[in-house]
């Protein structure tokens, strides 16, 4: 399908288009034209990714700037999906245009997924793969080799050096598989191919972390130019990703290992002082001049990652008292000892960075400034010492990162020391949480650097929350409703059980047998009438376990068992994926199954229950966060103080975005259908916080109903859905062919013209009146007041009464 939006020709790889896709493209184009950020909510299952890609690629190819697209997604499977869509799109474009465009699209993921080295790739943990790869590819390893020393290298990596640096891989779209295959054929490392080719790509698809985690972003994404278009897909959780990327937890064990790391460093320094004094001296001299000089900074093989540092800091020279290697190690040891002492305290402490620093200075004479340089200084030292077994120094690096962050940011962070794991624990297991409270800190560089950032997801309501929390302004902020030819999903809010008693998972009543029984009845009833698959979400593992055991005692599970297989999510990923597989089989075989899972677990985020894999989703209870957590409390307070977001508003927002995620699991396309049940009394008030497209489909008659009403409503729905339904019925309503689209565009254009004309008339009228006023002197522009007459009548009536 081929059409124009304003002057921009868009090639859309399908013969039909959804109206909301078209609207989405228009808004996206507006954003790009205006050069600002936007937040867009598009119903799940309406082909968001392909819409996005086809518009942006069209935009890239049409305008001479050829703005690069950075597409960030959350999981590997989403990245792969996007790459596949891009590939199909480009194929379509080539066919349509009759020639192949100058275009390169690449996906990037961790070394673990892209490594080809026969022994390295067999490592289980990603960190080990990274570390081993680094020890094979570091700059000094190559130098050593050139000097004729016998060192291990990776041939896949070294082969890259023989190629033209800007043409490591031919044009085209490379899926991860394709990249691996190409790498194997040409004996070149796919990971470094992708990394090095990023500057020469039109589209890059990778995970959030490459942009948001300042420790990685600095190395991977530093060369991307300002006019890049950045897209965060599935961004409803983006604030948490930001926060996690800057928070660290320090335990006694990690401190112990950090001490060991420092001791190793010391030994290495002594060794080197005896054998290779010159290197240390070189480093020292470079440091005297300035940090950046020390090892030309942050190359791709940089050993350790550093957190975001303000630019002025990077230009400054390292403070004199940590310039010497041995001084620096002693400095680190002192800092670690201090932390160890703090960990001995047996009461909860929460502290702001400034107060931590002043206490630190009082007891150890460590100043703020050298602390800020800690992490850069460590990187430089590690490079000088040519250490290869980096994973041994990881805890030390963690402490250094913490030091740098705590000395850099006064606001937006908090230190929380929890001596016990839980309130009832007897044996202390202290953890020092250094927690970031402000999501805006991590994402700020992104907004500062790139002119257009698109934040989009299927469930990102309320839209205004995100700009508020992340500290940016939008040019477009839009939530699209879903056009449907038939009511293909049925949301309901069930607030009462079949005995008319209110149901809720609030703390006071959640374990009352009557509530549990009512939930059980709800489950049984829906298990009875739902064909094939059914998904149930609970607010937490704890609650799920307790309610399941209560159901067991009440014989409810036996009843459900008659209709469906019962499968349960566990915190263990492997077990869960096994359960999921069984679930799918049961759905396909016709036995049908219910999957009991947790609203904040893995299943609720990444796994689709399309078509017969999910005909009903039952959300038991509002999935609130655990509010007793001190970290959450601190964050709530911060949000209130800084962004004027009230505690309850945030908690409710957060609960509802998870609930919406759960609901969205069952509807993955316009030909799909399913029932969404929200079962809790408290949902009734939160209805407006649901995404627009769900809320619109939610009829008043289906709000606040009891179990039996819900069941009869659901029965009717399934009966309707069972009727034959052809694509043709949808045409013109929820699916447009090119003609529909053209007609719509014409209508739009006419409207615009009419509007313009009206405006013009108005202006003329006003002009005339203005003239009249000028002549008559006393007349007024009455037209402004005309529309207010009615209001006035109203006001008078009020007064009179």
């Amino acid at each position: 399908m081929e059409f124009n939006i304003d002057e921009l020709p868009v090639l859309f790889p399908y013969p039909r288009i959804y109206p909301e896709q078209y609207a989405y493209m228009c808004d996206l184009k507006k954003t790009l034209d205006a050069g600002g950020h936007c937040v867009l909510e598009m119903p799940s299952g309406t082909g968001k990714t392909v819409t996005l890609l086809s518009l942006i690629v069209a935009y890239q190819q049409y305008y001479p700037e050829h703005r690069k697209l950075i597409y960030c997604s959350r999981t590997m499977s989403e990245i792969e999906k996007a790459l596949a869509e891009l590939k199909a799109l480009m194929k379509f474009r080539t066919e349509r245009l009759g020639y192949e465009e100058e275009f390169r699209g690449l996906g990037l993921t961790s070394r673990k997924n892209l490594c080809l080295h026969p022994s390295v790739k067999r490592e289980k943990s990603g960190a080990v793969v990274d570390a081993r790869c680094r020890s094979l590819t570091a700059g000094f390893v190559k130098e050593k080799k050139e000097r004729g020393e016998d060192v291990d290298v990776c041939i896949y990596h070294d082969n890259l050096d023989n190629l033209e640096p800007h043409n490591l891989i031919p044009n085209g779209v490379w899926t991860l598989d394709g990249l691996l295959r190409y790498g194997e054929q040409h004996k070149q490392c796919p990971y470094f191919t992708a990394r090095r080719m990023m500057q020469f790509c039109n589209v890059i698809i990778y995970s959030y972390h490459y942009l948001l985690d300042p420790k990685i972003a600095e190395r991977v994404s530093k060369d991307l130019s300002k006019d890049c278009i950045v897209v965060f897909d599935e961004a409803h959780n983006i604030d948490n990703v930001c926060i996690e990327s800057l928070s660290t937890d320090i335990t006694e064990d990690s401190l112990r290992r950090a001490t060991r790391g420092a001791q190793n460093l010391e030994a290495k320094i002594n060794q080197m002082r005896d054998s290779d004094q010159k290197k240390l001296q070189d480093e020292y001299e470079k440091l005297v001049e300035g940090l950046r000089g020390a090892g030309e900074g942050r190359q791709e093989d940089a050993f350790m990652a550093n957190p975001a540092l303000p630019d002025d800091l990077l230009k400054e020279a390292v403070p004199g008292n940590i310039r010497r290697a041995e001084h620096f190690v002693a400095f680190l040891k002192r800092f670690i000892e201090y932390l160890k002492t703090r960990m001995k305290v047996r009461q909860v402490i929460s502290e702001t960075p400034p107060s931590f620093l002043s206490h630190l200075k009082e007891y150890t004479f460590i100043e703020k400034k050298p602390l800020r340089f800690c992490s850069e200084r460590l990187t430089s030292l590690v490079r000088t010492l040519e250490l290869t077994n980096i994973e041994d120094y990881q805890p030390l690096q963690q402490v250094a990162t913490f030091a740098t962050l705590v000395a850099t940011y006064e606001k937006g962070f908090l230190l929380i020391l929890e001596p016990y794991e839980s309130d009832t624990a007897e044996v202390p297991n202290p953890v020092l949480h250094f927690t970031c409270l402000d999501a805006a800190i991590a994402i700020k560089p992104v907004f500062d650097r790139f002119s257009s950032v698109v934040i989009t997801s299927g469930t990102i309501s309320p839209l205004e929350m995100y700009p508020k929390m992340l500290g940016f302004t939008t040019v477009v902020q839009e939530s699209y409703s879903m056009t449907l030819a038939r009511r293909s999903f049925l949301p309901m809010i069930v607030t009462r059980g079949s005995d008319q008693a209110a149901i809720s998972t609030s703390f006071q009543v959640r374990n009352e047998p009557s509530v549990v029984r009512n939930y059980g009845n709800l489950l049984t009833e829906f298990a009875r009438i739902t064909p094939d698959g059914m998904v149930v979400f609970f607010p937490s593992y704890l609650y799920m376990e307790s309610i399941i055991s209560m159901w067991q005692g009440m014989g409810i599970l036996d009843e459900v068992w008659k209709y469906k297989l019962i499968l349960v999510e566990t915190p263990d990923a492997q077990e869960t994926s096994l359960a999921l597989e069984t679930y799918r089989t049961a759905c396909c075989k016709g036995r049908g199954a219910v999957f009991l899972c947790v609203a904040r677990g893995k299943v609720s985020e990444g796994i689709d229950f399309d078509h017969h894999y999910g005909r009903t989703v039952l959300c038991i209870g509002v999935p609130f966060q655990y509010t007793e957590s001190r970290i959450l409390k601190a964050r709530l307070e911060f949000l209130r103080e800084t962004y004027r977001i009230r505690e309850n508003d945030f908690l409710s927002f957060d609960a509802m975005r998870h609930a919406a995620q759960c609901l969205g699991r069952v509807l993955r396309g316009k030909d799909d259908y399913g029932i969404m049940v929200l079962a809790d009394r408290r949902f009734q008030k939160k209805r407006n916080q649901l995404p627009n497209w769900i809320n619109q489909a939610l009829l008043d008659a289906d709000v606040g109903i009891s179990t039996d009403m819900a069941v009869s409503s659901a029965r009717r729905f399934f009966k309707q859905m069972g009727q034959p339904f052809r694509t043709k019925d949808q045409e013109g309503v929820s699916i447009w062919t090119l003609e529909h689209l053209k007609a719509y565009q014409e209508k739009k254009a006419e409207e615009t013209i009419r509007e313009l004309q009206a405006q013009q008339n108005q202006r003329q009228l006003m002009d005339a009146q203005a003239n009249g006023n000028a002549n008559g002197g006393a007349g007024r522009g009455d037209s402004d007041y005309e529309m207010d007459d009615d209001d006035e009548a109203e006001l008078m009536a009020l007064d009179h009464h």
């Binding site: 004199g320 008292n321 310039r323 010497r324 000892e337 007891y363 009464h801």
Partner: protein
């Protein structure tokens, strides 16, 4: 110079290697290297050190050995003479760091120049490194180097006395300022938190109040809620009728609404206007709790009783004190009130009138009671008039 090792403390040293000066470090399952008491036996065991030699021992040992005046350190090979006064609890687990920090404290007191004192950043950094080098000599250096560094330190102190004093004062002020700032911030945060809580509570109360007000106005049905309903209705019909008729209509609907509201338990009916509803009778006023006496009250109206236990008349002593009367459950006050009741009973009952009323048939007990009450009241008045 602390000795490199000692015969004590093997257990305490296990597992922790201290690179500093071969000092024993505390481990988690502490044992006093002097008396070999382990923490298992004495939970509150506290370790103390003396900054002369940094040998740690438990507080019991310290008391035992040093309470009677200066004594020699019990560590083998350590010949320092220590006083009780100098002992303190170490801040750090690693005693070599403890010692280092003590030295740093001394150095920091002397070398307290700040960046502003220097021409360039490089100068400042060189100065910092010089200080660090000196500190290192003091901490890790050989005897000779240490003495040299010590001498340097003292020389510098003598040379820059004025500067040091000035910087010390400035530093203290800056520290004070900083501390005050942190405290002020904490206070402000607390204040804000309290306010936020208050605000939330106020809001909640406001919500409850407004809901109650709404309910109340619906219940009474008159001015408040009904009026509001009327207004709203009127808004809907604006422009259709002139004001007078609108008023009239509003009043009428208002009445209807009030009736409907009262009938429907005060649910949100006030704002609906349904035309063509049948005129309903105003339901009887809500009933209070059941009163078996139909509103009669038993407070004597023709006489007043003294408050209990205060009536004290020699003529009554007989009834009060006579053992012959008094049995379990007997109460003098009760006796008096019964006596008075008997004396006045029947006054104000007019047999003739009673006869007439009694003739009417079908009176319920309640009505009789009411009538009786009414008569009683009339009787009261008569008596009042007479007196």
């Amino acid at each position: 110079m602390p000795p490199k090792s000692s015969s004590f403390g093997a257990g305490a040293r296990a597992g922790t290697s201290s690179s500093g000066g071969g000092l024993p470090a505390l481990s988690s399952d502490d044992m006093c290297p002097v008396c070999k008491t382990i923490r298992y036996l004495n939970k509150d065991m506290e370790f103390l050190i003396h900054p002369d030699c940094y040998h740690s021992m438990c507080s019991n040992c310290v008391n035992r050995l040093f309470n009677d005046g200066p004594n020699q350190c019990p560590y083998a090979g350590c010949h320092k003479t220590l006083r009780r006064k100098g002992f303190r609890a170490p801040f750090f687990g690693d005693l070599s760091v403890e010692r280092e920090v003590d030295i740093r404290r001394r150095v920091a007191a002397v070398f307290n120049q700040v960046e502003d004192d220097f021409e360039t950043l490089l100068d400042y950094n060189n100065y910092l490194q010089m200080v660090e080098d000196l500190t290192f000599e003091l901490v890790h250096g050989t005897d000779q180097k240490r003495q040299q560094a010590e001498a340097q330190l003292q020389a510098w102190e003598a040379e820059h006395k004025a500067d040091i004093e000035r910087n010390r004062r400035a530093g203290r002020e800056a520290d004070d300022l900083q501390r005050r700032r942190i405290a002020a911030e904490r206070d402000a945060a607390r204040q804000r938190r309290i306010e936020a809580i208050k605000e939330a509570e106020e809001e909640k109360r406001e919500r409850v109040r407004s809901r109650e007000a709404e309910l109340d106005s619906m219940q009474t049905g008159e001015a408040g809620g009904g009026g509001g309903g009327g207004q709203r209705v009127q808004l809907k019909r604006r422009g259709q009728v002139n004001k007078n008729t609108a008023d009239a209509a509003a009043n009428m609907i208002q009445d209807k609404n009030a009736a409907a509201a009262a009938g429907a338990d005060g649910l949100g009916v006030g704002r609906l206007s349904i035309r063509g509803l049948k005129e309903k009778k105003r339901p009887p006023p809500p009933e209070g709790p059941y009163d078996p006496f139909g509103g009669l009250d038993f407070i004597p109206s023709r006489y007043t009783l003294e408050p209990k236990g205060t009536l004290n008349h020699p003529a009554l002593d007989h009834w009060r004190l006579d053992q012959g009367h008094i049995t379990g459950g007997y109460s003098f006050d009760e006796y008096i009130s019964r006596a008075m009741f008997d004396a006045f009973a029947g006054l104000g009952v007019f047999i003739e009138d009673e006869k007439e009323l009694g003739g009417q048939t079908g009176l319920s007990a309640g009505q009789v009671a009411t009538i009786g009450g009414g008569i009683g009241a009339v009787g009261d008045k008569m008596e009042l008039d007479a007196s």
